[in-house]
């Protein structure tokens, strides 16, 4: 239903998600970028309102400005356009563990209401039903980047009451669980889906809907989420994508599609 209304207004729910996610970022952010939707959002931010943002991919590329979206975190385009490229140990030691990253922007296969992420396994670890890729850089990004933004499509399979494996720690079981682990970073600070924007409750740290995308009603959000959804008392509507944002996004996707077809 939400998707239909979005189409009438000539943009898709996916486009709304990427653009809403891009608006979270600022020019002075130093952002560790996950592949997929996070990478699209970060580059839209760079190409619109945050031209000076520093984008970092875990392959070691610092201050990169790709003309097309990379298929992997290590495409040549990232290195060609980067300020500098460092080794992988240096990336994780000096830059991430060293506390120089303000935002970690992640995707997730499975997430719970406290922003804990599973990208490891569906079923048990020892005899999995589906073996997923695993954590990669995410376990340390989740604990060492200043704060975490997450972007993903909503579904009953992806937004669940209990994740099956704690790949990357969010707010644990809520409240001061991060402090109890000795973490000084903020952890998950925003979740941007194809239906809504969520932020953690200041006390319980449970994700709470603060904005519904245009045309979305609360029932849509609940129908595509495995936990009982809480809505902020003052929730409002996400501003629609501007023509400029849509143009930049579509041009980027078009360039990307062409590039990946030929190379």
């Amino acid at each position: 239903m939400a998707v239909n209304l979005a189409q009438e207004k000539n943009y898709t729910a996916d486009e709304m998600m990427i653009i809403a996610a891009s608006r979270m970022l600022k020019s002075d952010d130093v952002c560790f970028v996950g592949i997929g939707a996070p990478s699209a959002a970060c580059n839209i931010a760079r190409l619109t309102h945050a031209p000076d943002i520093t984008l970092i991919y875990e392959s070691g590329t610092i201050g990169t400005a790709p003309d097309v979206l990379p298929l992997s975190i290590g495409d040549g385009e990232l290195c060609d356009t980067a300020l500098t490229t460092v080794s992988v140990p240096e990336m994780f030691r000096y830059w991430l563990q060293g506390g120089r990253i303000t935002i970690g922007f992640l995707g997730a296969a499975q997430i719970d209401k406290f922003g804990n992420i599973n990208t490891t396994v569906i079923g048990s670890y020892d005899s999995p039903k589906t073996r997923l890729p695993g954590g990669g850089g995410a376990p340390e990004i989740a604990s060492q980047a200043g704060q975490i933004y997450i972007t993903m499509k909503q579904s009953l399979r992806s937004m669940v009451n209990e994740i099956e494996f704690f790949t990357s720690f969010g707010h644990g079981k809520g409240y001061d669980d991060r402090q109890k682990l000795g973490l000084k970073t903020t952890g998950p600070a925003a979740l941007i889906t194809d239906l809504a924007i969520w932020k953690p409750d200041p006390l319980s740290k449970e994700f709470t809907v603060t904005h519904l995308h245009p045309g979305v009603v609360p029932e849509d959000v609940q129908a595509n989420c495995g936990w009982q959804v809480k809505f902020s008392e003052t929730f409002s509507t996400t501003p629609e994508p501007s023509l400029d944002e849509l143009k930049v996004l579509r041009d980027l996707y078009k360039r990307t599609e062409e590039a990946h077809k030929t190379s």
Partner: protein
């Protein structure tokens, strides 16, 4: 001391059943030709080490070369899951595969520790992460000065490491450029190393801070143009993204996978790699011929 030889002779010299072997290259410069040479020789019970297994280990695992995998991200980058690796973990096909799973930070630290001749790596990591519960090689220690809780993992010191690089000079000094990943650490942490290069040149003509492996740190060098395909070599040819996308289909079915491997790996020789990158090289081949 670097010996220039064919890739096949280098593989014979360093490999045997049951060894611990790393093939590194972080998206860039992945040593595919070396993996295919190893697959053709039919080695078994290998412990494979690699941060990002991707297609190269999907092929080795699917062909039954490995009994153990040490890794930190097992996906087809930007495409999806690794279907042969999944089949081995979920269904023990073609053979059972033991896994030792880490995060990227842990593997990077462990290689660096291996290159530094340290028994273990110490870092901040795995906060609240469940891998600590399923991997006995992730331990907690305390800083002797501040008492701060830290993580330790064993260093990685493979019997053999394979990497690919852009150039070697005639003495055997190796130059790596672009996304340099973990290749320097992979070679310096290993007992033996094999480096394939795009070309051997008279002089590296580089700058003072270039990433160089001196000739006395490398055991074997083989000149194999195109050896990274479908990965890429910065300055030579681009990543064959279409091949990564196609792999998702090829690897989805056991028979299709076996047929593809028979045709494209078992019945081929190392020379095929130069032909595979021709269409990706754009204007770069002419640049190469100037040397």
């Amino acid at each position: 001391m670097a010996n220039f030889t064919s890739l096949e002779k280098a593989v014979d010299a360093v490999m045997s059943d049951g060894v611990c072997v790393a093939f590194e290259g972080f998206t860039h410069l992945i040593p595919h030709a070396s993996a295919h040479a190893v697959i053709r020789k039919g080695y078994r019970n290998l412990t494979l080490v690699r941060m990002t297994p991707d297609i190269i280990y999907d092929q080795m695992i699917g062909m039954g070369c490995a009994s153990k995998l040490i890794f930190s991200y097992a996906g087809n980058p930007g495409v999806g899951l690794l279907r042969r690796l999944r089949d081995a973990i979920e269904n023990q096909w073609p053979v059972a595969l033991e896994i030792e799973e880490h995060s990227h930070a842990a593997m990077a630290n462990a290689y660096e520790a291996g290159a530094s001749s340290m028994p273990c790596a110490i870092f901040k990591g795995y906060a609240g992460a469940e891998l600590k519960q399923v991997n006995q090689n992730i331990k907690t220690i305390h800083c002797p000065f501040t008492g701060e809780e830290l993580v330790a993992v064993p260093s990685i010191q493979p019997d053999v490491s394979f990497i690919h690089a852009q150039k070697a000079d005639k003495k055997g000094n190796v130059l790596i450029e672009g996304i340099i990943g973990i290749q320097k650490e992979a070679v310096l942490s290993a007992t033996k190393s094999v480096v394939t290069v795009e070309e051997v040149v008279d002089e590296l003509k580089t700058h003072p801070n270039a990433v160089i492996l001196p000739h006395w740190t490398v055991d074997y060098i083989a000149e194999v143009p195109g050896a990274a395909h479908p990965s890429y070599a910065q300055g030579y040819y681009d990543r064959d993204n279409a091949a990564y996308i196609e792999w998702d289909q090829i690897s989805a079915d056991r028979t299709r996978f076996q047929n593809w491997m028979e045709e494209n790996v078992m019945q081929q020789t190392t020379d095929i790699f130069a032909k595979r990158v021709g269409f990706l090289a754009k204007d770069k081949l002419s640049k190469k011929s100037e040397h």
